[in-house]
């Protein structure tokens, strides 16, 4: 976060921004935090920490810009810098490093999937959620930001500090991985082959 504070909001203005622009996003923030940590207490800490930082650095928030994207960026950074460090999870390979090693825009679009549209439509909420939650955090994050929270590629690039081309290719890879998971659910539901069920 920038240490340069271009202007000072009055105490009244700060309260107004906090109440009208920051707080209405608490539902999305908490769900994002929960989907990153899978733990209620950790999600609460992460959201609380994010709001305290947001208030502390409120002068670097430009009124009229997207408060939700600004808050999501703080939450994502807090997760990487604070939560991941102190969590006891074994260190995972950071996908971004792997990705920049390979040509990030070189995505294989040719792989086809035999997943059927009607199988996807019949999926239960739990199956969808479990499939999403089983993805590595960097893949999970882009799907949450794009599909659940409706951020644009440009906003996602800012939240994640990566180029738009990388947003696009990571999303494509994430969805392919998700399709793999959904396909295995589909096969257990009897959608595994082309033979029609009795209905």
């Amino acid at each position: 976060m920038s240490e340069v504070q271009r202007k000072k909001y009055s105490e009244q203005e700060k309260s107004k921004i906090f109440d009208q622009e920051f707080m209405p996003n608490i539902d999305s923030m908490y769900n994002f935090a929960y989907r990153l940590t899978f733990d209620e207490d950790d999600a609460k800490d992460l959201v609380q920490d994010t709001y305290l930082k947001a208030f502390r650095f409120i002068n670097s928030f430009e009124q009229g810009t997207n408060a939700k994207a600004w808050l999501f960026r703080i939450l994502k950074n807090s997760f990487i810098n604070d939560y991941r460090k102190k969590s006891k999870q074994p260190a995972k390979i950071d996908y971004q490093e792997v990705e920049t090693y390979y040509n990030s825009d070189d995505v294989d679009y040719t792989s086809t999937t035999d997943l059927r549209v009607d199988a996807v439509k019949d999926m239960l909420g739990d199956e969808i959620s479990n499939a999403l939650n089983s993805l590595a955090v960097d893949f999970r994050t882009v799907i949450i930001l794009c599909d659940l929270e409706g951020f644009t590629y440009e906003e996602m690039a800012k939240i994640l500090d990566i180029p738009i081309g990388t947003v696009r290719s990571r999303l494509h890879r994430a969805r392919n991985l998700l399709k793999d998971k959904l396909r295995s659910y589909a096969s257990t539901m009897g959608y595994g082959n082309d033979e029609e069920e009795g209905s």
Binding site: V107, V117, D118, S129, L148, T152
Partner: protein, 90 residues
């Protein structure tokens, strides 16, 4: 839109530029504003079977993610405790 239609005789069964087409379809589904996207989309869906299939599968996945993912309720005391800490620090 009906997804159950059988491959239309009018659609070609292989796509000559899958990478470019699928990337375009995905950008359109993700709400990116591209020039002439509507026209390009209609043309692809009418003429190319792989594009047609890819578009509808990708669309279905986005729809179920949006509508079916389980949501967590925000703990009732969270907002109050954030406000309390901020007040204490003032």
């Amino acid at each position: 839109m009906d997804d159950n239609s059988t491959p239309s005789g009018d659609r070609k069964l292989s796509c000559s530029d899958v990478s470019k087409c699928f990337q375009l379809l995905e950008s359109i589904l993700d709400g990116e504003n591209l020039p002439n996207s509507k026209e390009m989309l209609n043309e692809k869906l009418a003429k190319c079977e792989p594009c047609f299939k890819h578009f509808h599968l990708e669309q279905a996945i986005r729809d179920v993610l949006k509508t079916k993912c389980t949501k967590q309720a925000v703990p009732s005391e969270l907002e109050a405790s954030i406000r309390e800490i901020i007040q204490d620090r003032k």
